[in-house]
Structure formats: C-alpha cells, structure tokens
Amino acid sequence: MHFLNLILRNTLRHKLRTALTLLGLVVAILAFGLLSTVVDAWYAGVEAASSARLITRNAISLIFPMPVTYAQKIRQVEGVRSVAAANWFGGIYKDPKNFFPQLAVDAPYFGMFPEFIVDEAQMRDWRRDRKGVIVGKKLAETYGFKVGDTVVLMGTIFPGNWEFVIRGIYQGKTPKTDVSQFFLHWEYLNETMKRTAPRRANQVGLYMVELSNPSRAAEASREIDAEFKNSLAETLTETEKAFQLGFVAMTEAIVVAIRAVSFLVIFIILAVMANTMAMTARERTAEFATLKALGFAPSFVVTLIFGESLLLAMVGGAIGIALTFPVADVFGSAMGSLFPNFQVSLRTVAMQAASAVAVGIIAALAPSRYAARVNIVDGLRSIG
C-alpha cells in the first residue's frame, strides 16, 4: 500500500509536467483510435458481404454492361436461387460533393438482402411506383429525406434530370449494414433509356446472384463464366466479398498510408513520454541513492519507475479510449454518407490499450536502468 502511495505521490510531484504528458497521451491514443476506425470503415463493405451472394460483371471492366438476357441463363446454373439486375446510376444530388451510392435494381434484389429491413407497406408502395426509390436510414437522416419527398438527381452516366419519389426507408439488421444507399427501379431507368438512347437500353451493369448453397460458390462462378465464354460480353463472377475487396485494393495505398501514420503517432508520444521519464529519473538521482543507502534493492527503484510510467500511460490511455467513442460519433456524422459505417471496434480498443501499456513500459526502460545503476556515493552528491 505504501508502495502504491509512493508511486502516486511521485507522479503528482510535478503537476504541470504530469498534466502535459497525460494530455499528450490522450491526444495520441485518441488519434490512433480514430485512424484505425477510418481503416475499419474502409473495409466495412467487405465485412458486410455475404458468402451466399455472387456478383457477375463484364470481364473487361465494370463500366461495360451485359445484355439483359443473361439473367435467364444465370438462373439455370445449378445452385442459383435468384438473380437480380443492378446498374450503377451515378447521379448528382444538388452538388457533386453530396456523394452517395445509387443503384437501379429490379424487384428480386431486396429478397437477396435480408439485412435490409423495409416496412412491408412501404415496399408495396415502392413496387407500385415506377419513380419510387427506397433509401437507407442514414442517407435519409443526412439529407432530411422523408417518405413522399421528391428528389431530383442529375445523371452523369445517364443524361438528364431524373425525378424520384421516396417510397420507403430501409434499416440495417446489424450495425455493419450499409444504410446509406439509394435504390431506384431498374425498369424506370431502362424504359427511359429505350426512349432517349435505344442503344443503351436492355443493358445490365452487374448481376447479383444468390446461391441456395454457399459452398458451391466456386463451381457456380466457373459455370456462369463458362456459359458466356467467347460471347460479345464475357463475364467475371466472384463472391461479393472478393468484389468488395477488389475495390478496397484499388485504394490500398491510402489505407497503407493511414495505417503507417497511426503507428507514427504512437512513436511521437513515445518520444514525449520517454523524455518525461528520463527527466524524472535524473532529477531524483539523489533520492534513489538515499533509498539504496537505506537498504532498498535496485529492483525496488526500478519498480518505482515502471509503476509511475505505467500509471501515467494507463490513465492517459483510459481517457483517450473513453473519448474515442463520442469523437468517432461526431466525426462519423460529419462525414455523412462517405463512410456508411463508422464504429469503433473492439479490436481498435484493444490496440489502443496495448499501445498505451507498451508506451508506458518502453518509456521506463532507459530511466530505470539508469536508476538501478546509480552509485550511492555519486548519487548522494548529485544535485539533480
């Protein structure tokens, strides 16, 4: 008990220095937590992907469509439960910076996503209205969309001003579900294209394929691609997870940079913390010598320094972790639909705690070695 008391009193001896070091620790642990949450958000689409869904797209690249007739052939592949068509719409809502994903989908699409929860009456309304759209809860909150509102998007891929009526708002079954999407009718898009640009009608951007048995994913993908081999639009089928990972891989350089920087902040705080501990140890040289002269073993002095360093690191870490949650909430809502999923994961908290403890231990290494080696006579003579 006396021992803990001694550590606590030592820590509070230089109140200003302790407060400054704590502040630095809090900022660093908080920054580290936010950065790894950003990285997590990057992978959110991958995490939310289901293994029972495949995505078939044109083998050349995503911007090339496939004929609408492919749906029929894909449905005949063994193990396929249902097939839905989807087109990336890419419209602009008022200003290009208001980005959110818009997909033109046909009716079976929602059947494949049990994680999207839509009120049944709203679903019926959506089916009946050609201009109807279903939007995610988060998207609706960001832009203040309500059921019955008219939303106009300016098409970039499909020219013109498009008018939609919000018929439903979907919620996510789990916190990981992306609730920032905007779903319009594929039929509406197609019929408009038939009138304005017949060449571009009856084209599907990608097919969402649901399997009755997820373990057949590899075979089913191969069979679907074999079906369209040597046709005008060869296909590439992969699991939803692989498809999402492909997207993340394209921006991998950014993810790597954020990761690197998040470890850099730990090094910065390590330098600050090590400095504090080094100063503490040097100032107390005479004290350590006195303790030793009284008969305390060098290990006692070492424990004292480690205890102080760890106490500081753990208190700073705890405050930093506690602050991560509210700050992440604010940050997440400020980013709006850019990061559909901004949640602090358990892994992030564990990493934060581990780094705080590591900083505490490493910062105490050199000072404790110095203190353990202090010669009693020289130490007593020292004036700090």
């Binding site: 911007i63 020219p159 891989a249 394209m250 921006t251 080094a278």
Partner: protein, 388 residues
C-alpha cells in the same frame, strides 16, 4: 544586452537524451506534415501537367469525365468544323476524337486487379500532347492491333511491357512502344488507334474530343457557341481545368486528412517541447538568477529560452525534412475516385514545401517554448539565486 547565442546552443548539447527525444518527436510531426504537402503537390503536378492550356476537351454535358461521356460522330464533326479549331500542316484540323474505356489488368507484383485507362486516339492525338515521348520501341501503326503503354503502366501491369500482349475487347493487342509523358496522368494509360478500339468495344460513339485552339483567347467564344447550341448538349473545358477537376476530390481528401493529422500530432510535439523547456527552466533557476544579477534584462532571458526552443524545433524540422526527402523515391498508385482509374504519382518536394515545413516546426517550438520562457523571465533575482 543580449545573452550570447552559444548559451542557448550549448544548453541543448548538455542534455543530449532529452534534446534528441524532443527533437525526434518534432521530426516525426514535420515528416508527416511535409509528406502530405509533397503528396498533394505530386498529385497536382501529375494532373496539371497532363493538360495543356491551349487544348480543349469536349464531353457530353453533365458527364463529368471522359469515361462516362459519349460523343456522336455527327456532333464531333460539327465541333471539328468550328473556326476556333487550329489548322495544322497540310490543312488538317488539330483535333483528336477519342474513345476512353477502363479495363481491368493485373498488377505484376500481386494478383490484385486495377482499372487502367485505355485511350483510343486519332492521328492527331499524340501531336496534341507534346509531353508524350516514345522512350522504347515505336509509335503504333494506325489500322493495326498495336498499342503503346505509358511508363507507369508498362512497369507495373502484366502484359503491358514492350513486346508483350494484352487481351481486351476480344482481341490481342501487341505493345510496340513505351512512352514517357513526363510524370503526367498519361503515364498511367494505354494508347491505340481509336478506329480499332471502337469496333473492339462495340461502341458506335466516341467518348470525347480534344483539340488545339487556333488562338488561346478564343476559348470563351468557343465555349459559348458550343454550349448554347441545342443540338449538341456538350460541354467544353480547357484541358488543364478538366484534369484539375478530375483530381479535386482526391486532392481535397489528402489535404484535409493530412492537415488534420498534422495539427493533432503537433499537439503532442508541442507538449513535448513544453515539458523539456519547463524542465530546463526549473533546473537552471539559479543560473537564471545569476544572469539577471549580472545585468541581463528579463527580455534577454526570455529571448534566450525562446531561442533554445526554436533551435530545438529547427533540429526537429531539418531531421523531419531530411526523412521526408527520401519519400521522393516512392511512387504512389491509387484509384482516383472521380475517374475510377489507376493513377500513379510521386511525392514531390518543392522549395515552398521546405519553407512551410520549417515554419511549421518553428511555430511548434514557439508554442512550446513561450510559456516556459515567460516563467524564466519572471523569476525574481533573489528567489532564483536562493534556489541553489
């Protein structure tokens, strides 16, 4: 009377470990700060140098990028016949009708696919971009399945090296040349004959058109004429503007993320400097008293301690910049969200970045050193002398 400069410098030398740790923390912050500015500068340079101010890009109204745009042959003919389009030797219009598509290629170093821009150009296409120079092999011959690859693509993607073949659009294409576009965005593209690409991709329309203005001042008149013509529904942008718009989101993202991080990190470094300087003041109380007793004024003591903090941060700044300068060897390739295609750019160090980073370091030193220096200056002579 001023306290000699060497006093501040030598004090840093006496406490080697503390100085190294504090300067080290600052160096890391300056490194992040400089690296972000360098990255943004590299991106800007890549995309701005891609365009030439005398060239005009025509895309479909509202389509935002060449990849999403479509331009019918008859509309292209109308645009080409405008008087503002420059006339080259032999009475040929200096315009290139182009077809831009994305294809998926595999990287050499991993099996990860990435989107690569394929640009079909007319005969005039290369002439409109004087920065594009063939560095190996030769130019593709029109009317054949030959393509040339940008340096960044040729190095990093399978099948894009000289003499290799890439398969897309149901055909095999031989890479007969590698070109260097002096670090512009074209380095990340594959070029071939537009009249070969269009049937291969089964596209009856061009994506966009690029032409050179006969006179740079005529842009506004041309833009007016094209955008007011109800038949066309087209948009005209100077090529420089077009590429700047293309990278706006990515550039903003890098800048905001980087600057936010720098600010947060600098809090840590400032605190480090403050701790060090407070300790320096505390352990030298008697010394400060002596200085004051010798007749040095409060302002001189303040200046001496501030200088010490500034020297400390300058060391950090120089070390951080030195570390950051090594980043120039690194090329970053990532997907540009707006064009959905792979873009390679490198960290670029410019004199303004050096100055900004050093100023940033000094500002951290000033912020961290001011309060401790003030405390030193305020010490009473008698109390300070007694402290020893």
């Amino acid at each position: 009377m001023q306290v000699p400069l060497t006093y501040s410098l030598r004090n840093l030398r006496t406490r080697k470990l503390t100085t190294a740790l504090t300067a080290g923390g600052m160096a890391l912050v300056v490194f992040v700060f400089a690296a972000v500015l360098m990255l943004d500068e590299g991106l800007r340079k890549t995309l701005i140098e891609t365009g030439s101010p005398d060239n005009v890009v025509i895309i479909r109204k509202g389509s935002e990028s060449e990849v999403q745009s479509g331009l019918e042959r008859e509309k292209a003919a109308i645009v080409e016949s405008q008087p503002q389009v420059a006339m080259g030797t032999g009475g040929v219009r200096m315009a290139s009708k182009e077809s831009i598509v994305l294809i998926t290629l595999l990287r050499r170093d991993s099996i990860k696919p990435a989107n690569v821009v394929i640009r079909g150009v007319s005969l005039m296409g290369p002439a409109l971009r004087p920065q594009v120079k063939i560095i190996a092999g030769r130019m593709f011959r029109p009317g054949t399945s030959e393509v040339i690859a940008g340096r960044a693509i040729s190095d990093r993607f399978e099948g894009a090296g000289l003499g290799e073949t890439v398969r897309f659009g149901g055909r095999e294409w031989t890479v007969v040349g590698v070109f260097d576009a002096s670090k512009s965005g074209f380095d990340s593209e594959l070029w071939g004959d537009v009249e070969q690409f269009m049937p291969a991709f089964r596209r009856p329309v061009y994506s966009s058109m690029v032409f050179k203005l006969a006179n740079s001042d005529q842009f506004e008149a041309f833009k007016q004429a094209i955008e007011d013509d109800p038949r066309l529904k087209l948009e005209a942008k100077r090529e420089t503007q077009y590429y700047a718009d293309q990278s706006e989101v990515l550039s903003k993202f890098i800048r905001y993320l980087g600057l936010t991080l720098s600010v947060i990190f600098s809090v840590g470094a400032v605190i480090g400097a403050m701790i060090t300087m407070y300790a320096a003041v505390a352990s030298r109380t008697a010394e400060i008293g002596t200085l004051r007793a010798l007749g040095f004024r409060r302002a001189s003591v303040l200046a001496a301690f501030l200088l010490e903090a500034l020297f400390l941060s300058l060391i950090g700044g120089v070390v951080g910049l030195a570390l950051a300068s090594f980043m120039q060897l690194v090329t970053v390739s990532t997907m540009n969200w707006q064009s959905w295609s792979e873009l390679a750019f490198s960290f670029t160090l410019t004199p303004p970045i050096v100055i900004k980073s050093l100023l940033f370091a000094l500002a951290m030193g000033l912020a961290g050193g001011f309060l401790p220096a003030l405390r030193a200056a305020r010490l009473g002579i008698v109390d300070a002398l007694r402290a020893a």
